[in-house]
């Protein structure tokens, strides 16, 4: 089984990197190499299974309580494994270039060690079919990613971020523990396959389990309001790690949710509603907070929340389909969600790579300090643009395809279902449309302010294009986004196996419904082709027209103002000001304004920041309260030994009074 080899290689690579690590030695290629080889090896069985090949399984006894080394590669796992392996390899290559600046200042052994462990952990999570093994891998993944996030632990902000991430993910795991153990009690086994066969029969328990799974897996995936760690951790981490975490690691939460849905039997309607509600909350709030950010990577992090919301919407549609017994909704909903998992992995990885390149070139995340980078970093700019169009869900790229499926499901459900199904779907349509529009707004802002116009500060004016190690992964991902857009029907066809596996529908049913969804996409592709041809035509036309005419260079029309400076350009904050003012009540943006005073105003300034909703208003106060409450109890250990002996006496008396009858 190729995947076992892959894991073995990763393990060896991790060990080797750690062993050979010296501050002055470059171990990057060793680490990256092992990851790449592992990914290539792993992809073979994955693609086989996705193309309807036989499901592979490995069972080896594992001498720990309730544990068994039980791996199964079924289509669902394969579907998530594919982007995981792909992005792991690309991020590794990118990382080689990205980490070069640390060469000599810091031993790179640990970071590559944990990178390998992280990839290994993700693979194990997706393959494990034994509860103990799953949790084991799950925590392994969390720990490894934590150490990657705190790579630059000298910076206070990074430590804070890492701390929040670690605590959040660990608390999420607590819910998973309960979820798994309750299921185990119900089914008397630790075995996912057994769980899937027996299923949870008692309604109430299933509901509880569903909620537990939502919280536990949602924390990792970044559902509002459990998302707090994302906007902290992603900016803190090295960019290739941010790409990996945001692109695929958080998807393990989605995977876990889908996997646990296969245990929980027939869902009631409200499960679908809940997921659509969560999806809308995460989507809309995610994109709104993204709009309000000035930090490029933080902005991207909030967009991960948004896209996770879109995936949740897809799953929600699918669930409604299950509970209303409509196969088309199941296929289109789950299909759209699953496809978006892949797409988001591609364009979010791409965007984080771009952000990393900008960071490395200019040394800042601050959008408002940048500008005009397109002239200096043409490749980065072009690929980032593609990513931006894709994530905004615009044709002809991949983001449009998955959102198209989800919309399709929503429209069909909205047209056929009764009120109980149609109303949530209407909300979904409105919400998803709004999300799309705001996402476009957000990325016109991001791309426009960072790459277009004139440099706003020194940071932006002295910078350079990145090396090939970082450029290549970006180009490949950009190509991926375009290809999925162009070959949408085939990609959708590839969902066949995984959808049978997820929905449990018969092959024929899935095939028919998929075809029903692929048909429109085929025409979308035709439209796309027409669009491209027209583009070429117009290009030629324009060239022909301008040929031999006067084409001059001038200055931008400043509406009569004679001395425009770069600092007069519209900034990111001013660009989104209409949104932030409209949603002020929600965003709670802090403005610090120093008004210009006097006839000759010396200095004036306006700074805004938008802290996270839940983190600021929910979690931090909560923790402080708890801490205060506990500190009241610390009086118990006051010092005098008499008191301590008194405790003994009291305990004795209490025990006697309680038990001695």
């Amino acid at each position: 089984m190729g995947l076992l080899f892959a894991m073995a290689i990763l393990l060896l690579g991790a060990m080797a990197v750690l062993a050979l690590s010296r501050p002055d030695r470059n171990v990057s290629w060793l680490g990256a190499g092992s990851v790449v080889i592992a990914s290539v090896l792993g992809c073979v069985p994955v693609i086989q299974v996705l193309s309807g090949g036989s499901i592979e399984a490995v069972r080896v006894p594992w001498p720990v309580p309730y544990g068994e080394f039980f791996l199964v590669l079924d289509p669902l796992a394969a579907w998530f494994l594919f982007p995981t392996l792909l992005l792991s390899a690309l991020s590794a290559i990118y990382g080689v270039g990205y980490l070069r600046v640390w060469q000599g200042r810091r031993s790179l052994g640990p970071v590559w060690f944990f990178y390998c462990v992280l990839v290994l952990g993700m693979m194990l999570v997706l393959l494990a079919r034994n509860a103990v093994l799953f949790l084991f891998a799950w925590e392994l993944m969390a720990v490894a990613s934590f150490f990657l996030v705190t790579f630059e632990y000298e910076r206070e902000a990074v430590r804070e971020a890492g701390w929040i991430y670690f605590v959040a993910t660990h608390l999420g795991t607590a819910f998973l523990l309960v979820f798994f153990l309750l299921t185990a009690r119900e089914t008397g086994s630790m075995d996912f396959t057994v769980w899937a066969e027996k299923g949870i029969q008692t309604r109430g328990l299933a509901d509880i389990l569903f909620l537990l799974a939502i919280v536990g897996f949602g924390t990792k995936a970044g559902f509002m309001p459990f998302h707090v760690w994302l906007p902290e951790a992603h900016p803190a981490a090295p960019s290739h790690v941010s790409a990996l975490m945001s692109g695929v690691m958080i998807k393990t939460g989605i995977y876990g949710l889908l996997r646990s849905l296969t245990f929980l039997g027939l869902p009631p309607l409200w499960w679908g509603w809940l997921l659509i509600g969560i999806g809308l909350t995460s989507g809309v709030l995610g994109v709104l907070f993204a709009l309000a950010q000035h930090d490029l990577k933080r902005l991207l992090a909030y967009h991960s929340v948004e896209n996770i919301g879109i995936i949740a919407l897809g799953i929600g549609v699918g669930l409604l389909g299950v509970s209303t017994g409509s196969p088309v909704l199941m296929v289109v909903g789950f299909g759209g969600g699953l496809l978006h998992v892949l797409n988001h992995a591609l364009f979010k990885g791409l965007l984080f790579f771009g952000a990393g390149a900008v960071l490395q070139g200019t040394g800042t995340h601050e959008i408002d300090h940048l500008g005009g980078l397109l002239k200096r970093m043409p490749w980065t700019a072009a690929t980032f643009l593609i990513g931006a169009v894709a994530i905004s869900g615009l044709p002809p790229l991949n983001g449009f395809v998955s959102e198209f499926l989800i919309f399709l499901g929503a429209f069909q459900g909205g047209a056929t279902l009764g009120a109980a199904g149609a109303v949530p779907l209407l909300a979904l349509i409105a919400g998803l449309a709004l999300i799309g529009g705001l996402a476009a707004a957000c990325f016109t802002k991001a791309f426009g302010v960072v790459f277009l116009g004139e440099p706003r500060t020194e940071h932006a004016s002295h910078t350079h294009e990145t090396g090939w190690a970082m450029r290549l992964p970006m180009l490949l991902l950009a190509a991926g986004c375009a290809l999925i857009g162009l070959f949408a029907p085939f990609v959708v066809g590839a969902l066949q196996a995984v959808l049978e596996n997820t929905t449990g529908l018969r092959r024929e049913v899935v095939r028919v419904n998929l075809a029903a969804a692929a048909g429109p996409l085929a025409l979308v592709v035709i439209g796309t082709v027409a669009f491209l041809l027209l583009l070429v035509a117009l290009f030629l036309l324009r060239r022909g027209l301008l040929a031999g005419r006067r084409v001059e260079q001038g200055v931008t029309w400043g509406c009569g103002y004679v001395q425009p400076t770069a600092r007069m350009q519209y900034t990111a904050s001013s660009f989104v000001q209409p949104v932030t003012t409209l949603f002020r009540w929600l965003l709670g943006t802090h403005r610090r304004l120093q008004r210009p005073e006097g006839i000759m105003p010396a200095n004036a300034s306006l700074t805004t920041e938008t802290p996270d909703l839940c983190h600021g208003n929910l979690y931090r106060p909560g923790f402080l309260k708890v801490n205060w409450g506990l500190s009241q109890l610390r009086r118990l250990q006051r010092g005098p030994v008499q008191l301590y002996v008194l405790y003994i006496a009291v305990t004795l008396i209490v025990l006697l009074a309680w038990k001695f009858r």
Binding site: F136, E154, V645, T651, L655, K659
Partner: protein, 492 residues
């Protein structure tokens, strides 16, 4: 054989008082530890024959705890030898208040250390409750001078509290022994000796009221020594003031010895059909300890006290496990093993940190990873281990105990367990990563002499053991754990 296990360290200890040359003394220490460990290893091969008419015997539980003790002592002895070499009789400025003080003579230290080993061994092998009591009390007395190694007022205070609180508690345990004696005399017939095997065999004839009373007294008595809240009060003081190697032994071995005593009691209770009665008490004390641990770990400013309270917490978890019946008891035993290793590791490391930074205040320790890479990495690993994060052993044991709780349908226990453990995790994360990461201040980096092997090797070995137990549980160990668990759960 069993006698050897006990006598060799005892004699060595007495000899150590007499010996003059420090080198020989330290040699004796390590040598004895090695021999003891070797004997213990042999015990895994061939169960030794009982001695003194069955008063001394080695059953599964005894073997388990004997091995923990012996192994820890072996590792610690290396650390201690190096430590003493460093501390060799000179005036030392106190970290907290900067006054000068002397250490106790090294002869006393090593002598008591060996006697300490002897007494702990006696605890693990004695089957007779009276003898068990004598041994437990003896461990207290043998360790008191160790805690008072640094001759300054804080360690003195710690010693005094340790002595008084433990002695009081253990005196109650003695009464419990006598009660057991009464319980073991049926109104009509002649009584029988307080040997575990007999008690278990004739458990049905025991007089319930006396047994119950004895049981409760035992809980208070040995519970004090085991550090179950609210009887734990001596623990943080003693652990924070004792030399780190002693703290390691206290946390890793002594608490387990007391726990073993309570396990014996529970075995009798189960045999007498009072299993549920005992388990209720286990659960209560366990939960209280968990909560107390959480309360004092959040916002703790002294890292040695932090570790001490974490011991309270883990003892609570172990108690919970036993209180949850057979399946939980398995987890509890496993947790006892894991906790001993991890906690000893951490205490040894805290010794390194104290030596480097000259402070026990968490806020003043920064950038451990940069200042002392190996110690730093081990410190982080130890944190992961003690908080029950894979791939370390405590994850499995905690998981097993939690499973037992959920299978038993003990909702509230599950909730409290998870909440307490979560709070503790938050507290420890802030403390540990605050110390490990960040930029070290000049002071730490100035005396940035590299850690010596004796500071690194012992904790590293312990860390590897915990890791191993997290990846796979060896067959023999598994059997032993199962045997113990079987004696602690009601027969189906």
């Amino acid at each position: 054989m069993i006698l050897l296990l006990f006598i060799i360290p005892a004699l060595a200890g007495l000899a150590a008082f007499a010996l003059r040359s420090p080198a020989v003394r330290r040699g004796l220490l390590i040598g004895t530890a090695l021999v003891h460990a070797a004997l213990t290893a042999i015990c895994w091969q061939t169960t030794p024959s009982p001695a003194l008419g069955g008063w001394l015997a080695l059953d599964a539980a005894g073997l388990l705890f004997l091995s923990i003790t012996s192994g820890l002592f072996l590792v610690a002895s290396f650390y201690a030898a190096g430590y003493l070499g460093q501390q060799a009789n000179k005036h030392i400025t106190d970290a907290e208040e900067g006054m000068l003080f002397d250490n106790a003579p090294e002869a006393v230290f090593i002598g008591c250390l060996l006697l300490f080993l002897a007494t702990m061994t006696l605890v693990t092998v004695s089957q007779h409750f009276g003898l068990l009591w004598v041994a437990v009390e003896a461990t207290t007395l043998a360790s008191a001078p160790l805690i008072y190694f640094h001759r300054h007022h804080r360690s003195l205070e710690a010693t005094w509290k340790y002595l008084l609180v433990c002695s009081v508690g253990i005196a109650l345990a003695l009464l419990a022994c006598f009660f057991l004696g009464v319980a073991a005399t049926p109104p009509n017939g002649e009584g029988f000796p307080l040997v575990l095997s007999d008690l278990v065999a004739k458990a049905q004839q025991l007089q319930t009221p006396w047994l119950k009373a004895a049981c409760l007294l035992f809980f208070v008595g040995y519970g004090t020594k085991m550090g179950l809240a609210p009887l734990h009060t001596w623990l943080p003081d003693a652990h924070s003031e004792a030399p780190s190697v002693v703290s390691a032994l206290l946390s890793g071995a002594v608490l387990n010895c007391a726990f073993l005593g309570l396990v014996r009691v529970q075995q009798v209770c189960v045999a007498a059909g009072l299993g549920a009665f005992g388990r209720d008490v286990w659960l209560l004390l366990g939960l209280v300890s968990l909560v107390v641990g959480a309360v004092f770990i959040i916002g703790q400013t002294d890292y040695k006290r932090l570790l001490a309270y974490s011991s309270v917490e883990n003892m609570g978890i172990i108690a919970l496990g036993v209180g949850l019946g057979s399946a939980g008891a398995f987890g509890a035993m496993l947790h006892a093993v894991n906790h001993s290793l991890a906690k000893a590791m951490l205490f040894l490391l805290s010794g390194n940190i104290l030596a480097r930074y000259q402070t026990k205040n968490i806020a003043q320790v920064r950038g451990l990873l940069s200042a002392a890479p190996v110690t730093g990495v081990l410190w982080v690993a130890g944190f992961l281990a003690i908080t029950g994060t894979p791939p370390f052993g405590l994850f499995l044991s905690k998981f097993t105990i939690l499973k037992a709780a959920i299978d038993g349908g003990r909702t509230w226990i599950v909730v409290m367990f998870l909440v307490a453990v979560g709070v503790i995790f938050i507290g420890m994360t802030t403390a540990f990563f605050g110390m490990a990461q960040g930029v070290p201040d000049k002071g730490a980096s100035k005396l940035a002499n590299r850690d010596r092997w004796w500071q690194i090797a012992p904790p590293a070995v312990l860390g590897l053991l915990v890791l191993w137990l997290g990846l796979a549980i060896p067959g023999p160990l598994n059997n032993v754990l199962r045997q113990i668990a079987a004696t602690l759960g009601d027969a189906p």
